[in-house]
Subunit: 358 residues, 2 copies
Amino acid sequence: MNRSKVTIKDVALEAGVSVATVSRLVNGTSIVSAATAAKIQETIQKLGYEPNLMARNLRKKETRVILIVCPNVTNPYYAHILAGITEASYQQGFSAVMYTTNCDPERELEGIQMLYKGRVDGAILMDGLRDHQVFYNAASRFPIVQCSEYVDTEIAPAVCIDNYQASRDMMAHLLGLGHTKIALISSNNDYVSTKIRTQAYKDSLLEAGLPVDPEYIKLGSSDYSFQSGRACALELLQSENPPSAIFCISDTFAFGSIIAAKELGITIPEELSISGFDDVEYTTMHHPFITTIAQPCYELGRTSAQMLFERLEKHSAETGLVYLDHQLVVRESTAKKKTYLTHQDTDLMVNNYSKEKK
Amino acid sequence: MNRSKVTIKDVALEAGVSVATVSRLVNGTSIVSAATAAKIQETIQKLGYEPNLMARNLRKKETRVILIVCPNVTNPYYAHILAGITEASYQQGFSAVMYTTNCDPERELEGIQMLYKGRVDGAILMDGLRDHQVFYNAASRFPIVQCSEYVDTEIAPAVCIDNYQASRDMMAHLLGLGHTKIALISSNNDYVSTKIRTQAYKDSLLEAGLPVDPEYIKLGSSDYSFQSGRACALELLQSENPPSAIFCISDTFAFGSIIAAKELGITIPEELSISGFDDVEYTTMHHPFITTIAQPCYELGRTSAQMLFERLEKHSAETGLVYLDHQLVVRESTAKKKTYLTHQDTDLMVNNYSKEKK
DNA sequence: TGGTTTACTGTAATCCTTTACATATAAGAT
DNA sequence: ATCTTATATGTAAAGGATTACAGTAAACCA
């Protein structure tokens, strides 16, 4: 392996000019005569010169590298955001280093160190930092943008969808279908998105004059695992008073719920409506296709990156929340509440008769 | 944003020692007295000093960064490999920059440039380079390891599963179930894995004394899209002489085939066996669970990274193929050939009677 | 013609480390 | 008492770029 690098000095020597001239040509920072330009170009070609980025960055005090801090690459939701970020980076001539935390607070911290060590110019955080003080310190010294999750939008901007409105939209859909016994499968993580979606669920119920039954709220695993969604649904469906609809805060929970329902011989959407959240790609790979909230993941990533570059290059310091549009997409897993009535239903109907659609 | 970096000089000044001493302490390259060590440590803490990696790397001529060239992050297969790579990198104290090519030959080329520019120490290629000359040049100058796909194993090592054996295993399974009309859904990309799997399909058939019918070989999209798998299966199943089993070289093709079969009212596995390849996570999220070849994606990534670090740190230059174990996992999508016979089947049975299991 | 601008190029400082080499002190050997 | 050796530290030279500053030659202006 021949690692002998040819430097700007070599080029200068060979072309019979000074290093400054070569540098100026390469960077286009100043005019060089056509004759010397040609000569330099030629020797660059001949020697195969490539500027050493470490040296350049040291001098310029910029790395043109951004950091992506992300809990987990294998989650398709994050993967799509990642794709958006990397594409935008590519187009801006930045490169992106990836740091996965697996939601380990210690690793979240270590990731941030790359900023302090000067290895990257800025960061996109997809993992809401547990330690707010660390976040505050980092965000006040370095350009940071939060994507999808966030801890504080005063000090660094965040781009995400309007989780509250999206959840209200979905609940409105379910309510509009005539469901009154709507359960929630939330998560035991402490993401803002989780909190907000849960709050919207409760608010929607209350606003519709329906009770918020703690028995109807189950918490799946923090990483939204399919199996934990199945377990929650099983509990819900085997209880005394099973719901007629389940609002899942993640598509994977919805998948798990569908499996659970099938295992119990419950048909979807005839006997049970299930809704998801995120619209990951495999929502339409098996029937029933899932009714869900589509998040513009790729755009989320792209926008975050663009905002970061804006910060880096124009030294802008806008903060606050940036909402990208979500979309309620109604597919096969939700339908009007069934007309067949159990005894319990009949009991309930005494109180809620006017709310039944049919 | 206060970007004022504190340098080693500041620390030295404050602690009343020379920069060399500070450097020695920080890097542990030489003994410093306990007293001064304590003093330096203290001032480092006080000033919040972090060594500038650009300067360090420039001096040391190493970046401790590796490059990951990958077609597409959103593909869960690659995502898992990526996870393995990033984990191994983290443990070795390296960071990983990601470069996605979307299989664009131009971008494959650009990715490689990072090596020449000295931004990274080595690379893991998951996208077999189209341009063999470029690959050859790069691989002879820089430490490169190929993962999953490869173009040449003489000049740079490759880690993957034994695609030939794996495909033979799957075909043996299908054949063992009594299937004689086995179709193939391959891909129109030119990956070695595709070629090898296709070859194994043909060899298995021939070895079993069965004909290789070109009508039974369909080519899905180069990126293994679900929809193209569905389209291929539809063609196959609606033909004059539909197969009783389909060997898909990718799980996504298998998913598409299952959907296609369902659309045509064909039951799986009773009327049609379908097998996948890769064992991406959602093979078990819907019934029928897919019979497939499990690839150790995470390990593939981890091993590749470890081999790269070996090359980097021990300057080893081992080449050749490294096979990781695959596994045939039999689930619900394959079963014995059905006993119900069509006229065509009866015709065929005259010749193949002894091969029928029941 | 003398002065001013323009176009181009060169010299050397700078970015922040690491490290080869030199130095100084103290301890150990003879 | 002198000569090594070990220990601990400092000085200054890389490393490969960018760029402030300076300089030269030609062109332009009055």
